[in-house]
Symmetry: C2
Subunit: 347 residues, 2 copies
């Protein structure tokens, strides 16, 4: 956060000037944005398309730790995790609203940093910031983002559309964000024990970026569209592959077989996992925060999909009666389990 | 909150079963709701209309105090304050999303109460709960609601449309919610000093309800539509009449004169204000949380507006160069000031 030399307290601006200050850089990239910030509500004209709406809440201490999370990256990530949900419907994100709860620990310069990340994500993904709410908080930073996108009706992909024999595909690789988080937590503990020890982050850029500054899988959807491949079912991986595969099976009334040896895992993920004594496969299955897309396509697209960079075929959809299972390299089957967040568990 | 005898801990259900449990009563009242809870995003079909989007964040300790705020009413209010913003655009609310941050202090039965209030508001105003996010929190309850509405383009009312000589009108009455809050805070302090003293709430039902269970001004908009009156400018009163009148003047590049003797104030508001040594006029101007509509109409509608129950003409719009002023009964003029929230002020 901002050092004391350039610290403008929030009360120096007050609510309305603060909102003006933070939203002055909001510009419209989309014809569908009729009115943005500055009235009781934003106005959107989807011009005949269907609209999709999704929302995510990020709470300090639960979803992020500002001792190692650069606040600019946090703004970027808060937007991207919502856009990922819009892409998972095979829709194009167009607008976002951002609500903030801010404690007095934060100054105007901190919020400028946060918003620079928000605007960077808006710029990169072509979405408009059209509204929000700004409030004081007694307990740190709260960020609530809602994203709105649009699609033609026949383009939309649901969780529920998987068909028997569909190929189960995943973009990018899995488990990296989880191990990025574990590394940050480990170095935080070392630093707390001895503030003279410098954190050991050299060589781990990729896994750190996967956690601190994830990207949404916009381009792969464009590629699939160009190839004439429409997924039967799609979901984004926020809770971990296991949970998301379960969601697709449950919604589609289907089973699946996912082959552990097919899971895409980056070299850095394997390396740090070994160093930290964590099973990289388990991280890939249950780590979460990957923001990759898990989707199923008819088997006739097998060759086209195999030729695609950044997409792995990891299994196939089966009849519901056969259940949802992971298959180990030696042919054993392990039942899939949905994890969800663990934080609600009794301590 | 729920007593110990019927307390189901959140971890007993886990995330996904909790979401299923809370959203199973969500039903679709609107043809525009294509898909609600249960996928990465909700799907909405506005069928040619313009869409409006607004969002509000409610934080425990800042916006509500559960020692006296029934959690069912809180759910109701969290929805209504967002719908009020949609009505203030002269649009019809259709969908909401609700995101919750929940600490372990709360059990499933508490959330059932909260959602019963949310569903009651949905039922009353004909809106559909279509999505949200559920998360743990270390610091009490966080509620983020986004509301989506629709309108024909020519029906929309902006803050910026006020014209010189327009009548300034307000629905219902002002200051009651603020005094309801003051009464609750007073009785809370008395109770904390001596838990044997029963709170003195008899006879104050109206002002308490105005704070604890406000309603949005849906019906007055229907009446105006039937009469063929379209406001030139409109805003809902969440921060207090002064702030909102300033917003209209600033956005419309206009001035105004608002007559203090014309401010609609309920008898109970006057009575409790006197008892508590608070100026009822100041409460009406700056108290906030009224969720009434402030709007301007062309002067030709003067007679029609005067004949309307539940609407008061409190002033008129002037040229920008004349400024925005309150006029006292003896003809003095006091410059209007926008207050915003005070919580950011330095203590």
């Amino acid at each position: 956060m901002s050092d004391k030399s350039t610290r403008t307290e929030l009360h120096e601006l007050g609510e309305f000037r603060l909102i003006d200050h933070l939203t002055q850089k909001a510009k419209s990239n989309n014809a569908s944005t009729i009115l943005g910030v500055g009235d009781d509500a934003a106005i959107i004209d989807p011009t005949g398309k269907k609209m999709v709406v999704t929302t995510d809440l990020l709470l300090e201490g639960v979803h992020f730790d500002l001792t190692y999370f650069p606040i600019r990256h946090l703004g970027y990530k808060a937007v991207v995790v919502n856009l990922s949900d819009v892409y998972a419907m095979n829709a194009t994100p167009k607008q976002i609203t951002v609500s903030l709860g801010i404690s007095k620990r934060f100054c105007v310069e901190d919020l400028d940093e946060l918003y620079s990340g928000i605007y960077l994500a808006c710029e990169k993904y072509g979405v408009d910031l059209v509204g929000g709410d700004t409030s004081t908080s007694y307990t740190g930073l709260t960020i609530s983002v809602t994203a709105i996108g649009e699609a033609n009706e026949n383009e939309l992909c649901y969780r529920s559309g998987a068909k028997i024999n569909d190929l189960v595909c995943v973009t990018g690789n899995l488990g990296a964000a989880y191990l990025g988080l574990q590394l940050l937590e480990r170095e935080k503990k070392v630093f707390e024990g001895n503030p003279n020890v410098k954190p050991q982050f050299v060589g781990w850029d990729y896994i750190l970026e996967r956690f601190l500054k994830p990207e949404a899988r916009k381009s792969i959807l464009e590629t699939l569209r160009e190839l004439g491949i429409k997924p039967n079912a799609m979901i984004d991986i926020s809770d971990g592959l296991s949970s998301e595969a379960m969601h697709i099976c449950k919604s589609s009334k289907a089973g699946c077989r996912i082959y552990l040896e097919k899971l895409p895992i980056d070299q850095q993920t394997f390396k740090i996992a070994e160093e930290m004594g964590i099973d990289a496969i388990v991280a890939a299955l249950n780590g979460g925060e990957d923001y990759e897309l898990l989707f199923t396509v008819p088997i006739e697209f097998h060759e086209k999909i195999l030729a695609l960079e950044g997409v792995s075929v990891i299994g196939h959809i089966t009849d519901e009666s056969t259940g949802a299972f992971l298959v180990t390299p030696d042919g054993n089957e392990i039942q899939l389990k949905a994890q969800g967040w663990n934080a609600m568990k009794k301590e």
